[in-house]
Symmetry: C2
Subunit: 371 residues, 2 copies
């Protein structure tokens, strides 16, 4: 059955904050694979993780990610369980061995607050900057950040999904290992990945379903590591086993492979993906800026996220009215995060420009009808 006859139009208008909408072409391939992976002739749900086929999936996916990000073999590419949350702990568990200085963190939103909570189970740490008092309405400027030369590492989140804040530059010192949670903008644009020592990203925003997390880690970080970690919390076990230390989430990894194929072949790389994502975000922010304050972006302009466009209307009642009307019009996932409410349009890789055009049209119509 051709893809075109299998489209569910609702998926095209899914602005969910995550798990996010996947490209329609990928969904069609996933659907086939539930009964039959072409190269194998079996359901993807019943193929051994020890099969040659799955070893090939992991290898191709590793290669695709290296190619998309321009990374060489000094980085290991891992596919782990446990989400970004597990990385919140694994990073200090791994990188503080034999170190006495505290690692440095930024507190730029809801999710970096979660990072701090888990990291503090493992170590005292230094918060270099917090946006909490300003309601996470902006990101720090360079002159507000005093990085220490002797910190064991520096950690930040590149995109805060709840508040809609995104860094458009690389932070930190070149002589201190940079660690970045890129869960919500990974593979949405080129990211100068080779300036980071460790990058992690769960799949469920731009690259796949919930259940798998990509970790990129420079080999040199593993030279001095604690030896008493459980095997599944030790990056080296996963490296040695090619992400097959214990049964990996085969299905989720396969879907991420299909998304990277789509990025390479259909989109032709991250520069193109970035251009599309910028166009989508520009349309939405223009809709806010041109609304005479009917729609109000909640963040500083220079820190606006290209992934999560977060805004308010003039009252909670008006917001509910907007959300209900958008739902009736076929849009979904537009409710703001439960921590802050409001409206959030998440426009990850899988969401097409056309969907954003439909949403901005809907926003103009709603404004007109309401006033």
């Amino acid at each position: 059955m051709p893809v075109s006859t299998r489209i569910n139009p609702n998926n095209a208008l899914n602005f969910s904050g995550g798990p996010g909408a996947l490209p329609q072409a990928v969904l069609a391939q996933v659907q086939d694979a539930i009964l039959n992976v072409p190269e194998v002739g079996l359901s993807v749900l019943g193929i051994s993780h020890r099969s040659d086929w799955f070893a090939g999936v992991v290898q191709e996916l590793e290669n695709n990610i290296r190619q998309l990000l321009g990374l060489d073999l000094s980085y290991h590419v891992l596919f782990l369980q446990g989400g970004a949350t597990q990385q919140f702990s694994m990073v200090p568990m791994t990188l503080l061995h034999g170190k006495t200085q505290p690692p440095e963190y930024l507190h730029t939103g809801y999710w970096s607050g979660k990072v701090l909570g888990e990291a503090r189970h493992e170590t005292p740490l230094r918060v270099l900057w917090s946006g909490e008092q300003e309601g996470f309405s902006r990101l720090p400027r360079d002159e507000e950040l005093q990085f220490s030369a002797d910190a064991p590492y520096f950690h930040y989140i590149s995109n805060e999904t709840v508040e809609g804040l995104q860094f458009n530059r690389v932070l930190g010192r070149d002589d201190v290992p940079r660690v970045c949670d890129m869960s919500s903008d990974f593979l949405s644009k080129p990211c100068e990945a080779d300036r980071f020592s460790l990058i992690y990203a769960h799949a469920q925003k731009n690259i796949g379903p919930a259940g798998v997390t990509v970790v990129l880690i420079r080999d040199e970080l593993l030279h001095d590591m604690p030896d008493n970690l459980p095997g599944w919390l030790d990056y080296r076990s996963h490296i040695t086993a090619h992400s097959n230390y214990n049964t990996p989430p085969v299905f989720a990894i396969y879907v991420v492979l299909l998304v990277t194929r789509w990025l390479l072949r259909d989109v032709s790389g991250l520069t193109n993906m970035s251009a599309i994502n910028q166009r989508k975000a520009a349309l939405l922010y223009a809709a806010l800026d041109d609304s005479d304050g009917f729609y109000r972006g909640r963040t500083a302009r220079e820190d606006r996220s290209l992934m999560n466009v977060v805004f308010n209307l003039d009252s909670a009642a008006r917001e509910q009215q907007f959300l209900a009307a958008s739902q009736r019009a076929g849009f979904s996932g537009l409710s703001g995060h439960r921590a802050i409410g409001g409206v959030r349009a998440s426009i990850y890789n899988g969401l097409e420009l056309n969907a954003v055009e439909q949403l901005t049209q809907f926003m103009r119509d709603f404004q007109q009808k309401t006033r």
Copy 2:
């Protein structure tokens, strides 16, 4: 499209040791859900884990598991990431708080060896019995086991998938918490679940795809717990959050829900499932026993697994010939585990009686042609 026109015949003959074959009726529903979950109208891969729908999925799945196993609310039912391997560590991390005596373990095969390796990172322990010297060809008899009354818990594995050994009784003392890894026979039969303090089982044998692990834990075990665990390693966090502490593997959990619906509605419960599974195993073991030694079961008769029928032919060359011929005949997944070789027919819930009939017929034909 009706289910009948969507069957891939290869899936029906998939004897994989895991991830195992799922019921055809479930695969058809999963395929639909990739584009459209009927109650929601969206792809299952793009629905928020914070949606009412997903809260309903978790609640129904909890209820289904309670109903299938006859468990009351003194047990919590959790759906976690990290596989059984993560539980190998979480069990001692959780249950040894304030205890001085070592926990007791059995070493009955390849997988309990893995359990011991991870548990020893956390605690000294006492191995009550090991089958290693006998090549894991049998399980212990009651008179060989001296359980301590003061052990903080006793841990064993109900079914060893690699060697094909399965306990057909509950072990341990009623006054010491029983902990059991039921990964490879969970929901394949009634299991007297209420005699255990903690049961864990990854999904990828009988109940779903790799990527989610079910944990059943008695509430009383949580009254005395360490307070310094990372949140995601603390059962209490997951209980409070209804398995939504951090983004859960939505897809895998949904598939497990569909399998439990199938068990309740199509199979009509675990007693029936057990009868079917016994019939499948009986056919295969009869094929071994009636082969005049052409096919040789590797375990003691009284400890034979109803899930994994492991056998040898008279030489490695003959085994390779058998595996190649079976592959050509449409069977898959029959290679023994890489640790011990040979042949392994895994006959989990999703594999139908008819597939076993076809395999035993093939075995008889192969024997006849070969002799």
